[in-house]
């Protein structure tokens, strides 16, 4: 299922600074960038700084006359910018943003607004509750121990007499049940802008 056609028209709106397109772009890549960064950086503030820095550089590059012109390369471009930001973080933890970066950061739409909207959605929460309620008690305990309590996965699997493959399949099935309502929600938000 595809909501985001990163075509020439989309890219033109993005480079021209159309706020709704920028908002959509940030909402699309924010979680991917956050997940990527949280696997490599230590603290929430570092992740947030690097996420902002990535978007600032992406938007700065898009505004340049010789910037990216191939819409199908947008995703790979965001990933490579994020990699560069990470490399610089590794080299120096005390990097100070330039005045240009600060200006760019101020214009980046805040994805937290849409996250709050999603959390407020009772329908989505109810769907998650239904999925969890339908799981056997052992599976609920597995999810709780691994993701909420953040306990060692091997240890939890050993305690509950399952292997890592079982955990993967459990997550796959739960995600599959949840995905349809999540996609509807994302599509609705994209239409509402």
């Amino acid at each position: 299922m595809q909501f985001h056609a990163f075509d020439r028209h989309y890219l033109e709106k993005l480079t021209s600074g159309d706020f709704r397109t920028q908002e959509d772009f940030v909402a699309y890549f924010s979680e991917l960038i956050r997940l990527k960064l949280s696997r490599r950086l230590h603290s929430h503030s570092e992740v947030e700084d690097a996420r902002q820095e990535t978007f600032a550089r992406v938007f700065a590059a898009l505004r340049k006359p010789d910037g990216i012109r191939e819409p199908e390369r947008l995703g790979a471009f965001v990933n490579s910018v994020c990699n560069n930001v990470l490399l610089e973080y590794y080299r120096s933890a005390s990097q100070q943003p330039t005045s240009d970066d600060e200006e760019a950061e101020a214009n980046i739409p805040d994805p937290a607004i849409s996250v709050i909207d999603v959390i407020a959605n009772r329908q989505t929460q109810e769907k998650v509750r239904q999925i969890l309620d339908q799981l056997p008690e052992k599976d609920r305990r597995l999810i709780k121990a691994v993701f909420l309590e953040e306990r060692d996965k091997d240890e939890v699997c050993r305690e509950l007499g399952v292997d890592r493959e079982y955990l993967r399949v459990l997550l796959h099935r739960a995600k599959k049940s949840f995905k349809s309502i999540y996609l509807k929600r994302v599509a609705k938000e994209a239409m509402q802008g």
Binding site: V128, L148, Y182
Partner: protein
Amino acid sequence: MDHSEASRLMASEKYLLDELPPAEMEAFEEHLFACHECAMDVRAGSAFLEYSKAELANSSPRVERRAAEVRPSRGFAWWRPALAIPAMAILLIVVGYQNLVTYPAMKGALAENKAPRILPAASLVSAVTRGSAPSVIAVRAGEPFLLPLDIPSQNSFESYVVELQNPAGGVEWSLPVSSESIKNTLTIAAPGVDKAGHYEVVVIGRSAQGQNSEVGRYPFDLQFARTANP
């Protein structure tokens, strides 16, 4: 990595579970940022986990909730003689057993817990330092014992977990330990066990990124003593 390979490898699930080796993680991320289907899959999975954490953090144990949901509202059905008389008889037997057997045993156990006593201990520190045969500890079956433990401090770990592995290789219990606590010798009051044999205390260090590494392993042999410890 292309989409079919990502699907075959269950890369989305492995990515969310932080299971991909660095090279595969890089390759999957390159694909993820360019593939709408995988991007939505990972975003959906991540959102599901966030919602689940909120739900599981707030929910009470399901057994209690289900019991409340299925509770029958049959009013005074229990007062019918056909049910009431056998029920009363069973109740009397239960009350009698509790008064004559259960409560005296509990009182004894409580009194024992309040009184000072000497617990057997395993010399885990010297056993590891010497690299010799594991130390031996003699206890009664089910009797608690002490495990004095010196964990070597390492800056790379934010916290630690101490596990007791039983002779079958299973985890008897595990205990989270802060990095602050290990500055001094830890003395762990271990609950009694039912099986004698070769046990191992395993110390696992946990980094800020959630990576676990084994820090040390402290074997000891547990023997059941015939006579009571003082």
